[in-house]
Symmetry: C2
């Protein structure tokens, strides 16, 4: 099955290790390490998101990940961000009550209210020891800590709240002109009850969340993008998505404002730039019953994974003026001018990175490789001396030095050239660059393409330009003279 193959390769080739800390009894569920290739890949995904937001004039900030209790009282997380759990009194297994009821009583409707859940849980036996279950508890999803000796605080369950709090600073910085956009890429924490969905549900993860602060009256007439893209929209009341141009979706009233349509388009463009297969993407509207009372509208960009089915990788929310009003009230701060609305894009970085990994997995007879979209592989160029003598390593190191300023490079001299090719195919290195005896004579090298395994000969002096072209997606075989070498 694809998931097992991908997660096995991810472990073996240093993409995702864990659960973490693995040497201590196999680690704690919901925590992972991003290994050497995985971190390079995650950096690339973050870099595409950062460039995407920046190109629409969203500006990055970085806030603390810990905030005192009052902030979470204001945001609503302190009272509302919890799961219902049930613990078996006999065997001490803990379950999420709603999930257990859904699995055990598939025909009953699950309502997230204590009394309703308690009635249903009594019909169910503990899946582990078959004892009766009772006593549902509210289980906060925030992780708590203490600042100083006694200041009750929480690790942020999202970056967004910490970004909102700087509104007065933005207002000054942007010289009172709205709309403006900011974003934050950073850690968030959720104390999930027994998380079991690999990197899709973890207790510590990276969010990339952007906010557009915009006056209510401007939402209907301001757009940051051209609204010409066709997006696969799945309305809450439909069964299948339709591909529809944003302008038309607005006219049809599928979307509630021009500005919202615009950030939806931007979010989709960023996901597309990461290079996920568009056929596996849909954009699903939240059912009005699921919306928080303050949310005007919410759509999720979902990617169809092999193992978990459709998974949210990005959410787009119209939060109206809820957050700023609450923080103004709780902090007793009068914000300058009219309080704007917030339109938000919230991406899960690890989820996107995993989807990209799965999406790039290829297998054919006895060859396994990762075919990342051009430029997205963890390593751009692997520089390989054909053998470890005759001055080839020295020459290869010169080439490495020349390229490392502009590209993510790897120098690798150990093992036969065939094994080094196979290793680089497996981790999805965009291009390998081999230095052989001829290179010493005529300053040319062989470039090999992971997609096709075909090879071209290129002058070292042209190397930077040629690799730039490859990264930009130009046709590999047109960039140099094709060569045919036998690989032992």
């Amino acid at each position: 099955m694809a998931f097992d193959k991908v997660s096995d390769l991810a472990k073996r080739r240093g993409f995702i290790w864990g659960p973490s800390p693995n040497i201590y009894n196999g680690g704690v569920s919901g925590f992972y390490d991003w290994g050497i290739n995985g971190k390079l890949l995650k950096n690339k995904v973050e870099s595409v998101i950062r460039k995407g937001f920046s190109s629409y004039s969203f500006f990055e900030v970085e806030s603390p990940t810990i905030m005192p209790k009052i902030v979470w009282e204001a945001s609503g997380h302190y009272s509302n961000f919890f799961d219902f759990t049930v613990e078996c009194k006999k065997c001490k297994s803990t379950y999420r009550a709603d999930n257990l009821i859904k699995e055990s009583l598939p025909n009953e409707k699950v309502i997230l209210e204590m009394s309703s859940l308690e009635k249903q849980i009594k019909k169910i036996k503990c899946p582990n020891c078959k004892s009766p279950l009772e006593n549902i508890k509210k289980y906060s999803l925030m992780m708590s800590t203490t600042i100083g000796s006694d200041k009750e605080s929480f690790l942020r369950p999202e970056t967004a709240t910490t970004t909102y709090l700087l509104y007065p600073e933005y207002h000054r910085f942007f010289r009172t002109k709205l709309p403006f956009g900011v974003f934050q890429i950073g850690k968030a924490y959720r104390n999930e009850v027994s998380p079991r969905q690999h990197v899709f549900r973890t207790r510590e993860f990276t969010q990339a969340e952007a906010q557009l602060f915009i006056l209510k009256k401007d939402k209907s007439n301001i757009s940051l993008s051209d609204l010409k893209t066709k997006l696969p929209l799945l309305s809450y009341d439909k069964k299948d998505p339709i591909d529809i141009e944003m302008e038309k979706a607005l006219k049809n009233k599928m979307l509630k404002s021009k500005a919202y349509a615009s950030i939806l388009e931007i979010a989709y463009e960023i996901i597309a730039n990461i290079g996920l297969d568009k056929k596996r993407i849909r954009i699903k509207q939240h059912h009005p019953d699921e919306l928080a009372h303050y949310a005007l509208d919410a759509w999720d960009i979902e990617y169809k994974t092999e193992r978990f089915g459709w998974m949210e990788v990005c959410g787009i929310h119209d939060r109206q003026d809820y957050d700023l009003k609450r923080h103004s009230e709780y902090s007793k701060t009068k914000f300058p001018g009219e309080i704007p609305h917030i339109l938000e894009i919230a991406c899960g970085v690890e989820r996107l990175t995993y989807c990209l990994l799965e999406n790039s997995f290829r297998e054919e007879k006895d060859r396994v490789w990762l075919q990342f979209p051009r430029g997205m592989g963890p390593i751009d160029v692997a520089v390989l001396p054909l053998i470890q003598k005759d001055g080839l390593p020295e020459k290869a190191k010169q080439v490495f030095k020349m390229l490392e300023k502009n590209f993510v490079c790897l120098y690798d001299e150990s093992g036969s050239i065939g094994r080094r090719y196979a290793r680089n195919d497996e981790i999805g290195t965009t291009i390998t660059c081999t230095i052989d005896h001829m290179s010493l004579k005529d300053n040319s090298i062989t470039l090999r393409d992971v997609y096709t395994t075909r090879q071209i000969r290129v002058k070292i002096s042209d190397l930077k330009k040629v690799i730039d072209c490859i990264m930009d997606g130009e046709d590999f075989l047109k960039l140099g003279k094709e060569v045919h070498t036998r690989v032992k």
Copy 2:
């Protein structure tokens, strides 16, 4: 005073905001937000560090920031990472006992032991209310939290420990070949007692820590660098630093191993690449009395700040095999092969970023500007249409689109051109690029240099190449025809 001017500019121009969350009663001490220009600058610093480590074949990983208690028992932090504090019973002020004794009894030696501190504290009155003081407490510097419903855990007080734990994974990944290097850039947390040194002592901060795993026997004969650099070494038994070539310092036995000298040289090169003034840097050895029992040697790279004097920005440690042995023991994991030693470089990212800011501050008559080392300014290119009409904004946006793929760009059309120049000078934008009416006719633009305020005229088709040259430090005036414009 320079500190006030720099921190005022940092606040006003969106570098550093806080304490955070500022709207809630002025924030909590020890927490800051990195604003729009500050985050860009911090990203640049991180990028120099990342490139620096990578170019010596250290590989990046990313681990969770939360680890269960047993990890910190093994690392030693659980028992040993605390401060001695004293709380005034009357006014409830809390002090770090050793600091208070140093200030109040400047002639007495401070020994970090409970009995000795208790004797001394009785001689001191509370600085706030003049009541007598007593009862010193141990105050853990780790922030605690709970994973799941009951797993006692701590936020990491350093990235290093979380990096060490992956040793078995590295060993496989690098196919058992030592030495190898890894690094991690990420958040760490210390629950400081009333931190008061701006971003130099915070409760949440970013570390960039690299580790070289090397066999003990190889430390004397393996070097990653050429050991030719002269470094300003200040031995623990000397009063002043001497500039000495690494090879000579080894021969003199100032440094204990070739490998250690090498990572010291690499650390210094990275700090130099960030562009801090070398005259304000010294490398100070820890006194043997201050060394942890397992540490063979430790030197700190210090930068002389205006306000706080000499401050550590990077530490270089020979930790021997202490960490791996402890984690092997506590996790009951037999590590493969011989246990290597760890040589470590530990940089404080916010400290380095602040030093860079202070180091770049310039003032002359009524002009204030930030003169960052070339390429280190938060924004590479600000694209400015001369006025907001006649098609200049459209043309400027085309230029912006063209440049944003390769450079950090800002598009700014609001206010007079003179005010926009002044604003960009104040934040240290490397180059401004002005589009005027002539640009529409002959596709040329004006580039203006923040260092000198001088201007050259350049073809749009040459723009990317010219900016590349400027970022590489080439002579600005040689890259185009100088123009003289009056700025209103």
